[in-house]
Symmetry: D2
Subunit: 320 residues, 4 copies
């Protein structure tokens, strides 16, 4: 093996650049060259491929986004494009591929492996909703961005006796909402995995006011409904001087946290070592604090991301 290719796919997440760097550096250490494929699977098919040298990699470990860009390319589900992609890789003398992205991106890696081109997936997404891993690259950073923003909102809530309803990312998974909500002392956390009770939430806020706490915080995952819709529903159960705020794309960007950088570095290096052993079709992750590699097919077909619902019970006990 002489050359390893890397691409990022799906939504960007903090730590993707740290993973790119780790793949490239670990490959270099093993005597291989690393090539970056720009614009995901689209760039793969188009042959938008460049050597990752010192200049491209220097200083990127701390940067948000992805220096390899990302792009939608649903056509890659078709075999024709997969074969074209492999042809491009071979043209550049590339022998194996690392794909950083969500579970949608894993399918491509799986197909390429089935066509004889070893490919490995690294879970990069802020939502933490990928099966086969307890955590994804970007999740920790994203939660910290959300927490930092909600801390600021709490300043105003306290000063003005308001209730903020804050919508965080997470279409199918409530992980960001759970972590951010506990870390900011939310009065309620509303997630797709658990049916909420609007009357109980209003009762709680009212009881807080009776007890002398006249500001409130509700963190809601976008997968349930918008903050604005939740506000309108809540307003029908009492007057909490409520305000709806949507944190939106801010959660995806900025410098990755230490944890995401270290984790991304571990996974990038692990991917290279597995490819050097001739392996492919694997999804990397962490389980019980240990790095793991599972078959992509099995992982996607037979496993689902499990949100840690014990955090919801925890919040019921520690909120005021």
């Amino acid at each position: 093996m002489k050359r390893i290719g890397i691409l990022t796919s799906g939504g960007d997440a903090q730590g993707m650049n740290a993973a790119i760097r780790a793949v490239a550096r670990s490959a270099n250490s093993a005597g291989l060259e690393a090539y970056g494929i720009n614009y995901g699977y689209k760039g793969l098919v188009e042959g938008n491929i460049e050597l990752l040298d010192l200049d491209r990699l220097d200083g990127i470990i701390k940067r948000g986004g992805t220096i390899l860009y990302s792009a939608r390319f649903p056509e890659f589900a078709e075999k024709e494009y997969q074969i074209k992609g492999i042809d491009q890789l071979k043209k550049f003398g590339i022998d194996a591929l690392v794909v950083i992205g969500g579970d949608g991106s894993y399918h491509g890696a799986e197909r390429l492996t089935q066509h004889g081109f070893n490919s490995i997936g690294i879970p990069g997404t802020i939502d933490n909703d990928i099966p086969g891993t307890d955590f994804t690259v970007g999740f920790d950073s994203s939660v910290n961005v959300a927490v930092d923003s909600i801390d600021k909102l709490n300043d105003t809530a306290t000063s003005h006796q308001r209730t903020f309803i804050v919508e965080v990312m997470g279409r199918g998974a409530g992980d960001i909402a759970l972590w951010a909500g506990i870390a900011t002392g939310a009065d309620a956390i509303v997630i797709p995995e658990h049916k909420y009770d609007i009357q109980a939430i209003a009762d709680k806020l009212n009881k807080n006011r009776e007890n002398g706490k006249d500001h409130g915080l509700i963190v809601i995952a976008e997968g349930v409904m918008s903050a604005q819709n939740f506000k309108e529903e809540l307003d029908q159960h009492g007057d909490f001087d409520s305000r709806a705020v949507t944190l939106a794309h801010v959660q995806r960007g900025g410098q990755p946290t230490a944890k995401d950088r270290v984790f991304a570095t571990q996974l990038g290096d692990y991917a290279v070592r597995l490819l050097l052993e001739g392996k492919g079709g694997l999804a990397l992750g962490v389980h019980n604090n240990k790095l793991i590699a599972t078959e992509i097919i099995d992982t996607l077909e037979n496993h689902k991301h499990q949100t840690d619902l014990s955090l919801l019970e925890l919040n019921d006990r520690v909120r005021f």
Copy 2:
């Protein structure tokens, strides 16, 4: 003079606590006691007043929000309530008052002074829209929060070739939009003080794409329209893969910047020194880098905040 009172009014802004501390400490240094009035003019009328001692003040210089809370109280426009407020102040032996807030809050200070109770206003608001000062306490912090958020959005914009339309605060004044837009390299800044040309903006974004810059950023002040409405208008002039983001209340909170802390400290101390000289009915501020005190009536009636439109021309020259 033995005791000085302090209250915060209107929307909270970073640096209000630094101003409260400065008033209290400067009063203490001059041998006076300082009393905090909770919940603005409402608390004044209700006599919600407490000594500001070491415990209340320790560590607040760095905190967002206001430890004295704020509350709406339009009734204070009536003389009856103003007299009640003065009665409460006298009951606590308070001889003079500092009001931290927006121009709405200045009216109260003016009335109290007219009734013989010397009161001075400190400009505390993120919008920078108060006449009689080049800058307000909170503006610098708020711009930095906006810039930090937009930096994060730029990571995603670059990775995904998108155009973000970011709505920042500023109902009547485009100052936050101007500063934040220049500091983040906006392709267009849209403010209430200047008519925008949607076709020119679309042309600019298209030209950028031709020249190889495939992501975009438009910063818009809330006073013009919502980010979402602007997006819909822009989308009719081209396909820029646009996304609308509203930074909302996040801009009001968090730790004040060094500049806001120093500025708030200067103003709080200045207010005490003027009150000690027997002055009242003044609005404090900074003009051409020097602290100034102007008559509230004259300031509100005869002056308007001047947004620095040279920044708009500057951005036209330095954007790509």
Copy 3:
């Protein structure tokens, strides 16, 4: 059981306040009152004890330091003082105690339990060097502070072709150095657990310069030697335009990260639940991503903190 006491002991760490809040709130939820003991074991013996009510707890989840203060009190190793402490607790009607601090603090909790007063320890220290847990409260925050500082130094190193030698905390454990070093792309990480080879490090830096990377970064744990001493040693092996920087106490303070807040909240709540079950003499922690409780005696006598040395090998592969 009616009342639970809480104290913090040893060096302060980010997240201690989040743990205090969690203990108090979880106790409240179970129908108990929570009392804070100021100034650690010293305050315990002196009876410096207060109810933790809404006002004391509001907003502390995000604050660095400890609202209960900490103080040295080696006298608590003597039985006489331990009994005095229990007397004070009984005087306040307190039935059980949570101690947040390092392994030194655990001894006190162990003794109190042996005297019949159930006490549980929560690992709070930035160094991550407490046996019985994979991570301590404060470690993640501290690493992020170090990373943020080193990122800044890297700006100057790159601009001026310098080599920075950065000393981070960690007397016996290299964990902060390892994590911060990997997260910032260090050329070498020097820790107490592994003998360093100064010639090899100099060779690496020289080779980097030959390959076009003319700036350098070495992260060293304080337990090995000071940055200044290391610099002097390194300077004898080549001219790297080196600068020594000691991050010092800055690493202990500031707002805790999301992870430390959630982890501290989990542990505080877990402590209350165990005390309610009538248990004591336990050290809490996390192992393989699960909360655990181990006997303090066994933990301190038979276990040692294990630094993850695979991170050192990882860095050898991914550095330039």
Copy 4:
């Protein structure tokens, strides 16, 4: 005029990249090309010069350090090297030069102008010690870094009843110390411009302890002495559980603040407009909130930076 050159010289400062970008973009807007000279005057003489295109400039507005690097080159004081520099510039078709750096760097710009090559200086240094301007690019960012670090130290000081002596940058000027000290509530600020009284400082700390404030903070500029030396002196006047901390190079790096980005952008653009008018030998700056341009010779020979000592008196009034 067709091409403008830009170089950075002296110590790096946050905002230098924003200035580089502004010079280049403003030049582009006027129909000129912009060329970056790497490694300051050294690179100028060696002809290390490159076109500043989209790729070089994209995203740099928010980055610390300088993408053009800096290097010591005392030889440039000699006419021989100045002429060589001009030859190189002419070889690249460059007609005018912008130099970003400290007053040392201004001398070079002045000499080049005297030899007929128009050059303009932009004040870029964290120390704020350049004559001809109220503020320098980097000062605001640097103060905010210092404030952020001292906030963290205050957490530990409060928790452990300690006194921190914090050394900030500033060899000849106490500006960083003054601003950072006021913004963090320092008990004493020690600067080169004002003789300190160690006994008075010790008395103040003792009086604080009597009044119930048992932690302390002293901010000292490096130009006076090291924090460690000051600590040793202070320790002879009382027991304040003091700790010395040197913030060091951390203050130079990291993302520039909004103010530094806007200011750097204004100056970069202003430099281009003046060069287009055929002017040279000028030092740019801000005075009383207005952009100014003064003759370099006159500025360096007849003016000195004036530290605002009213801030020292202010701190005497507002500290506890």
